[in-house]
Subunit: 316 residues, 4 copies
């Protein structure tokens, strides 16, 4: 159950469910777990950016991770441990592993600029958490403002044997997947798992470029799982047909800042979250936006019946 | 033919066509003009970011603008005059107006941060070009890293009588349109035209929020024109059906940096540009990317026959 | 002992002393306290950026704050509570006040851009910590990349009765002090305390523009205290003479990133810190840099005998 | 007279003098030239950031460069040719060389982030201007937000035989000089000239780390020339004594944004510029700031009689 470089499929990025008063909603965690397993997830990632990780206290972070680990059973759980300080990173990483996590995910500090700074940061991070914990590089320039070239990623992979996966969410990012797979072919980089993020906005082609699957928070992980499966089976047109049906909603979710509010709202409409509350500071959804999402859901349901939502949109 | 606040419809953002040797391709300009008019464009915007404006010499900029002005006949041409210095901005603005431009478009300097800095910049820009030239605010935070709130836009509009239009390409941006139209309703801002950009990625809903149309470079302006027309006629579902058919390609075009290469390639495949060459520094399209675009075009053609491309994709 | 808007004098920004193994060095905290009091400090600020606050665990933060509070006796202690999440901010703020802190300092999130975002953030922060806790605005664009105009600061001050002080470290920043004092004179803003940061690089003139004192980490707080005192006594030339004597070292300390290493080294040379260790990630000082600092110290000692360091520079 | 890697001494960065109406003031150019030669300058650099280069029309840029080239006689003139487009860069570079320039200076585009992007940009720039034109790398992260590591600089130097000099203005930057000189010692980089900028704020130690001189706009180039000369003669204490006398003013000049206004004001007070006018957009100096500069000048004059200004400060 430790993460290795053969990881594939769909690892949903889990939101952290809150009650309207800001306390953690454990029952919704359990419903999310059931839904992820039913959707065909091969793992789950918790305490990412979408999980509002910086808004949690250390003990809350560990409690959320632990609940997911127990609930997912034999499926691997990756715990986001990104932190401005290595002491906190180490503590959450080691405690999560003690409780059964499969690995951890580490985003670079937003202030890093040069190749050397980025490489040096991962070196120090591995030193901090220990070389025995499998880890995932999070490459998300749009939000983190850190740009890693394929060569930098290769350097990190080759230098740190415990690096097992790239969470790829550069944008544009298709050529990056091709470049990394090229490094594997020419023998200059050992194989790693590449799961893609960015809300899935290019998942259709990312699979064709060589991704192993998806790690993102789109509110219908069953679609992500199907597209991954269809592409691996060589059923290209079917994969694109399904993807295209979801693209209008997926594109709506993939908005900086407000995206999490959209996702929590859809997950609430699907009956998985009891509330779409975020801890402050957080973006809220206007009535107009909620109505737009409802419209997108109704249009999607005409093409994918799984999008028929349980609740009426009068819930607001 | 001077731009005023009633402007509506579709103003394609024109690329600047180059020959492979970097010289300007005037025949392709003429073909673009014909295509825009045939597609139902109500105007055109030249020398924007997509027009590679900073890579042109002053005399080239004026020549490109002049050719478009002549070719578009009675349809208005907006000329991008953004510049690090007000002397160059003034010169291009006044010379373009002398040659028949309808107005100019001004982006803020990327270094501007505070509300006061942004407002002050537009005040100085109007002082520089003169208060008699109708102008468009370009609001494009993703590329320019300048964030204008609705109140800042209102301030600029109220302070400068020659401000006629907002080129809206904030992301996310739907609430901004609603806020600005709310200012008009409560009487705190005079009416302005709002045309939306961002590749059209949210045009479906932008029209519902109150936009007057689109000003963007998507390679099928006929789709933009139809969606605008259908939404204005209240034919919501039809508008979304057509939009959704184009969304997979549109999303592919709307990639930072490489997007212009995709657009020029599609316009070349459509027979409008003789070459997809960019002046340096510019992004190139890999063989894999060209093949992905070809695939998207073929899928699109099955739903919108206008996407049947003239040339074979063997052209590469 | 609660912070109010009459605060003045010198509040050194305290570093957090670490042993070489990364644990907190309490004995050095006690020596710092004694030195600050002897130097004429009128208060102290802990857990700022210079205090490596993001690298501490919550319980460590509170322990450091508590030790300073006890040690400073009747002198006020301001606790930095900046955090990506309001839950953690509230917890540290309230616990620190319970233990006797005089107030808290809040820096804006680095992602804030527009005036409204900044104002809204402080509104939410006050909501989170409660309106009964006196707070300080930290205005440090060079490091935080958030730019607050004088009007934005005025808005925050007028909206939040618990705002007592501005830690001013904009650069350039002299006109900002004049603008804010102008707001007080014209009655549009209630009086607040302004203590200046930026390593003291402009303290000589900041006092003349209307600052109440300094809040910064320069390793010779006695100089800061003297300059503040001399300027308040109208002894301008003497203030500048003393300031100029320290400027070569002060300038050397005021380097982004490596500055903290310089300060910890000087404080170690002065016998106040047992070690100049930082928690990772942190910048280290090269042998050449240490030798340059030693040279600056020796030159300074010729003009201000307080700069005669206790230890030999052979310590390295 | 072509620039080569043995360049040393002081190359003042020349401001572009304007009349209050914004036209170029040629008589002041001539006075600057005389003053630079008298101050011991070994060359001059025109059309840099401080020269307000982006605010000039192409023909104006060439005219300013040409006047400096003629006036400096046998002393080398470096022309800043940084531009968003390579066409304009090539044109100004080649025309300037035709008129007798010694070389050109190229700053990276502010959007560049990764090592590869920076290296690729210089490769393309050399391709654009031609491999026969000696060029200078401008490394100024604070303003350009591009961070070049020593290894990146080495790569550019090794790849482009026409690279002759680094204008070093990283901050902090002392270790960078040491690292580059280390590359020369270990044979991994051919020797280049390193002249330092940043207003001279660390010139005292930069010379000790291995710089060949200064290229910056401090309004007393005679001090820069003396410090360079004294350090080369091994007269360390004297160099620091002179430097320290100027540091209060130098620090005041070295403020982002407003710094150019300070410099033009001092140069006007010295009788070299007829006006301190800048083209818009530009920062202006308040009455309080002018009075502070006058005070600094009077204090400086007590230690360095060359700072006795010709004009009365009542000139405002």
């Amino acid at each position: 159950m430790r993460l290795d470089s053969s990881a594939a499929g769909v690892y949903p990025i889990a939101p952290t469910p809150f009650h309207p008063d800001g306390s953690i909603d454990e029952a919704s965690i359990d419903r999310l777990i059931d839904a992820y397993i039913a959707a065909g997830a091969t793992g789950v990632t918790v305490l990412g950016i979408m999980g509002e990780a910086p808004k949690l206290e250390p003990e809350e972070s560990l409690a959320v991770a632990t609940r997911f680990i127990k609930g997912m059973g034999k499926l691997p759980v990756i715990v986001g441990v990104s932190s401005p300080g290595f002491a906190a990173m180490r503590k959450l990483a080691r405690h999560s592993m003690d409780r059964g996590a499969a690995g951890v995910m580490i985003a670079p500090l937003p202030s890093l600029r040069t190749d050397e700074q980025i490489i040096g940061y991962y070196r120090q991070a591995v030193e901090a958490i220990g070389p025995d914990i499998p880890f995932v590089i999070q490459d998300y320039p749009l939000t983190l403002s850190v740009q890693m070239t394929p060569k930098v990623i290769r350097h990190i992979v080759q230098e740190n044997a415990s690096c097992m996966m790239l969470k790829h969410e550069d944008w544009p990012g298709l050529e990056k997947i091709s470049a990394l797979r090229g490094f594997q072919r020419d023998g200059s980089m050992r194989p790693i798992s590449i799961l893609t993020g960015n809300g899935g906005l290019f998942l259709d082609f990312e699979m064709e470029r060589g991704a192993d699957g998806a790690m993102t928070g789109y509110a219908f992980p069953e679609m992500l799982a199907d597209v991954v499966r269809l592409q691996k089976a060589g059923r290209r047109d079917e994969a694109h047909d399904l993807f295209d049906a979801h693209l209008p909603l997926l594109r709506y979710e993939q908005q900086q800042g407000v995206g999490l509010a959209v996702r929590k709202y859809v997950l609430m409409q699907r009956g998985l979250l009891a509330s779409d509350a975020q801890r402050k500071p957080g973006a809220a959804l206007s009535a107009a936006a909620r109505s737009e999402v409802d419209y997108l859901l109704s249009r999607l349901a005409a093409r994918d019946s799984r999008a028929l939502v349980r609740r009426s949109s009068a819930a607001e």
